[in-house]
């Protein structure tokens, strides 16, 4: 299994603190006067190998920020650096997980996980071995040849995580990956994601609507607020890893969630 998981994860993020750097980033949709300011002068840094969660109500621009980090969206104002290089356009070293699994229904699970290898022109034989290992890691061994429609929602999302890791990206960007799952599956997925992250040492940026999920998973929680989308606060979560479900009853966990809730107590629209 360790072949899949390069650079094992240390207990604290050891990499550069400025691995991802966002400076004065603003993003406006539509014409200047009537347009919506989706992001307003965002400043932040994300350390290499760390797990950052972004939490905020609908319309706070968190998805916009993630899409800019992925290179799916252009920006005019400000700077975004990845590993010292400005982000312009999509990159090969980014893996994305979306709100829905977006598995192609005509491909088997294995072929879906192999998709990045085909798109990026990687060695298909090696990619196939890696895909099998990743499927093992997300506990989908035995389902390689099933179609996505034959899997449950949680299994589909796990397959999409395996797909996002296939080309060994340095960064994993996740846009509310567990939003569509039921609470029980979601908790299990949180534990699994933590395990995968700790084993793989990737830098992870995860968007969520759920404050407990943000605190449970994150080394840092970015708290955003809407209209215009601003980064209000960065909260460090110093709970020891690996965190189990009992971490949720920890005093630190409670105070962190309380601090984040405090932010949204004015905004009635938060869901």
């Amino acid at each position: 299994m360790s072949a899949v998981l390069e650079s094992p994860k240390a207990a604290t993020p050891a990499g550069r603190p400025d691995y991802i750097r966002v400076a004065g980033l603003s993003k406006r949709f539509g014409e200047d006067a009537s347009g919506v300011l989706a992001l307003d002068r965002i400043e932040c840094s994300i350390a290499q190998g760390s797990f950052v969660t972004i939490v905020g109500p609908s319309g706070c621009g968190k998805s916009t920020l993630l899409r800019i980090l992925a290179g799916l969206l252009d920006y005019e104002e400000g700077e975004v650096f990845l590993d010292g290089q400005p982000i312009r356009g999509t990159r090969r070293d980014v893996g994305m997980v979306f709100q829905s699994s977006i598995l192609l229904p005509w491909r088997s699970i294995l072929d879906n996980v192999m998709l990045p290898a085909q798109v990026l022109g990687l060695d298909l034989k090696k990619a196939r071995d890696r895909a099998m290992q990743l499927l093992h890691m997300v506990r989908l061994e035995g389902f390689e040849h099933k179609l996505p429609s034959q899997l449950s929602g949680g299994m589909q999302q796990r397959a999409s995580i395996a797909r996002a890791l296939l080309h060994d990206p340095k960064i994993l960007l996740m846009d509310e990956p567990f939003g569509a799952l039921d609470a029980m599956t979601r908790e299990r997925m949180n534990l699994e994601l933590q395990r995968i992250w700790m084993e793989s040492g990737k830098t992870v940026v995860l968007i969520t609507h759920s404050i407990p999920e943000a605190v449970f998973l994150g080394d840092q929680v970015f708290v955003m607020s809407p209209r215009p989308g601003t980064l209000e606060q960065v909260i460090r979560i110093d709970l020891p890893r690996p965190r189990g479900m009992q971490a949720m009853s920890d005093a630190g966990f409670a105070s962190a969630t309380a601090a984040i809730r405090e932010h949204f107590s004015h905004a009635a629209s938060f869901d």
């Binding site: 994305m96 979306f98 005509w106 798109v119 179609l147």
Partner: protein
């Protein structure tokens, strides 16, 4: 039509016999096979009414021949040498060739232009108004002109069938390429996929259910186009055979040719359905059917 005839009693049957209590699985199997028998019996009954009705009321044979006469004509037509110029095999082969060529050319060109339009939004803006306008032109009305241009040979029929099959495939493929889930394109884009890769990995497979809907329509149209083209002017083909038998007041002969044409049509659509089921194997059977019927 046959599909409809089978489907309707399926829903009606349990109501008709509410008293019968059988366990779920055997009952379904039983009702399906008994349904087949019932619909076959229905056909036989209708044919019997036709046969004895025409004989009993002495309907003139050039108006409505009895079924047995049609069967005899069918037998005579089939029991000929493949090269005999008055047999079904010779004329049928020509009609089939027209159908295959016309279907291939029409749907091939339709699909190609559909792909081009999906890749070049400016081209779509350019051609969209003409597609909408030309689509409502009755292509059949152009058949005589096409025959004047291209003569009585096979080529005029191929062109007529192509005109009829082109539009359904073009329109459905454009719709299919447009209906692709934006998330799927984002996924491919996030992997730095090229335009061609986006097309190959997601746009084309996503559009296939739509394209098959167009091909199904085109298959039905292609038989119509062949007969119309042959009516307008041809030296050979099943349409010509219908005209000849009609001219001789051989209505039974015309009906027999129509039976042959129906068999060709049914064979075409069921062959296409088989291809579709193989290509769209990943779709649940009922939803692929729904897309096709839409």
């Amino acid at each position: 039509m046959t599909q409809f005839a089978i489907d309707t009693p399926a829903t009606a049957e349990p109501e008709a016999k509410p008293a019968r209590v059988v366990r779920a699985r055997p009952r379904r199997r039983h009702s399906l096979s008994s349904l087949r028998v019932q619909s076959a019996l229905l056909l036989l009954a209708l044919l019997a009414v036709w046969e004895f009705g025409t004989r009993y009321f002495q309907v003139p044979k050039h108006l409505l021949p009895p079924v047995s006469d049609i069967c005899v004509a069918l037998w005579n037509g089939l029991y000929t040498s493949p090269l005999a110029k008055d047999g079904y095999w010779y004329h049928g082969a020509i009609t089939l060739a027209e159908i295959f060529l016309g279907f291939a050319v029409g749907s091939g060109v339709g699909l190609t232009i559909g792909i081009l339009v999906s890749q070049l939004p400016r081209l779509e803006a350019l051609v969209a108004p003409y597609v909408a306008a030309l689509q409502s032109v009755p292509k059949v009305a152009l058949a005589p002109i096409v025959v004047v241009w291209l003569g009585f040979g096979i080529s005029s029929k191929v062109v007529i069938i192509s005109m009829l099959t082109f539009f359904p495939v073009l329109v459905t493929s454009i719709a299919g390429f447009k209906a692709v889930d934006a998330d799927r394109i984002d996924l491919l884009r996030s992997l730095s996929a090229t335009r061609w890769q986006i097309f190959r990995f997601t746009k084309f497979p996503s559009a296939l259910p739509y394209i098959f809907a167009g091909l199904n329509m085109a298959a039905a149209f292609s038989v119509v186009g062949a007969v119309v083209g042959e009516f307008v002017g041809a030296q050979a083909g099943l349409g010509v055979l219908i005209l000849q038998t009609e001219a001789q007041a051989d209505t039974a002969g015309s009906f027999a040719v129509m039976v042959v044409l129906s068999v060709i049509g049914i064979a075409l659509t069921s062959a296409l359905r088989r291809v579709q089921q193989r290509v769209l194997h990943w779709m649940p059977a009922d939803s692929s059917q729904r897309t096709v019927n839409a």
